[in-house]
Amino acid sequence: MTEHRHDHHPRPDSRLALRARALEALLAEKGLVAADAIDAVVELYERDVGPQNGAKVVARAWTDPGFRERLLEDGTKAIAELGFGGAEADNLVAVANTPTVHNVVVCTLCSCYPWPVLGLPPTWYKSPPYRARMVAEPRAVLREFGLELPDEVEIRVWDSSAEVRYLVVPMRPAGTDGLTEEVLSALVTRDCMIGTAVPQAGSP
């Protein structure tokens, strides 16, 4: 994450950084929150929990029809088979793309996101334009991501503002027969599982 640093903040963050440091120092001084507990949580979501987990789930669904069925029936139970689960996936619902249906996920009220399979959301997912526009002009938003869908494909936008978290199961790209689960999982990007992209054979 830090390796993809971009300077985007129009105003200096130093005041906020100081405020955050002061709050942490205050809670440490009071003996309430330890620095290594903060480190542990940060590391959890930087190292162990991220879209690589969701990619494994999708690749398994592509190669194991029984798993796919269980995933679509009860997402939370199915990802537990691969050792994934936790906060923000207590009620995981997997929604599968088909030749006639394309799913995409947003949270208009907050920025809810299935952490155990996708990690922490990108900045754009949390931004007012995405939260405002995805429910009201999905094709225009998808076009910004470079995704043009035929008119006859029904777009289903899932607003995860309640307690359910959604994982999009994209279609397996043509020309990937015989590839191993591991190779397939490398085709499944984060955006494919949000629904703002579709996997390409031979991509990353």
Binding site: D13, L16, L18, G31, I38, L109, T123, A132
Partner: protein, 223 residues
Amino acid sequence: MDGIHDLGGMHGFGAVVVPGGEAPYHERWEARVFALHLLVAMERLGARPGGRATREQMDPVDYLAASYFERWLWSVEQGLVGKGTIAAGEVEHMMERLAAGGPEPSARRDPEQAARAVEWLGEVVPMQPATRPRFVPGQDVRVRRMRPAGHTRCPRYVRGALGMVERVRGAGELPDLAVYGKGAPVEPVYAVAFRSDALWGRGQEPPWTVALDLWESYLEEAE
């Protein structure tokens, strides 16, 4: 509440895909505030309503001007002060002390808390099954018109709209009351699908569907 956080359908925010949009955060303090917020929740150090319901109370001008984790920093501080875990002014005092090069409290280590946090974040608490849901899959429903002063999971853009129940998701406490610790009823939660023209009228794009999960008391039978 009908606050600035309820963004669905609003105009004027510009492009989604902009430089710098890919990373979850850009500064180390943002990651640490994220973690701190979770730890404050785990240790119950903050006041209700906490988290997103607190952030919704932010001044709308500040809300839009703030970055995502700036809002988290604000809400965690509100909760800590609200509960009396820290006193008003203590953060500013510590900021002055640190800015002046004063002594930083020595980093406290607590491996037990660290291990407990990771375990806590791995816990799964699914919704209960719904008993006696009033609506059934395939049934048309209308979202009630409302203007709740407090937290709700019923976005403005679906109120008054006609939709169709797709599934009964389960049952959960009504968040409108639960976040305040008031005896919240456990209600069935439904996945309800809306045709785009029921929400936005006829637009420039081919019709699409918007689906979301709504608690039973947000809904009424379609006339």
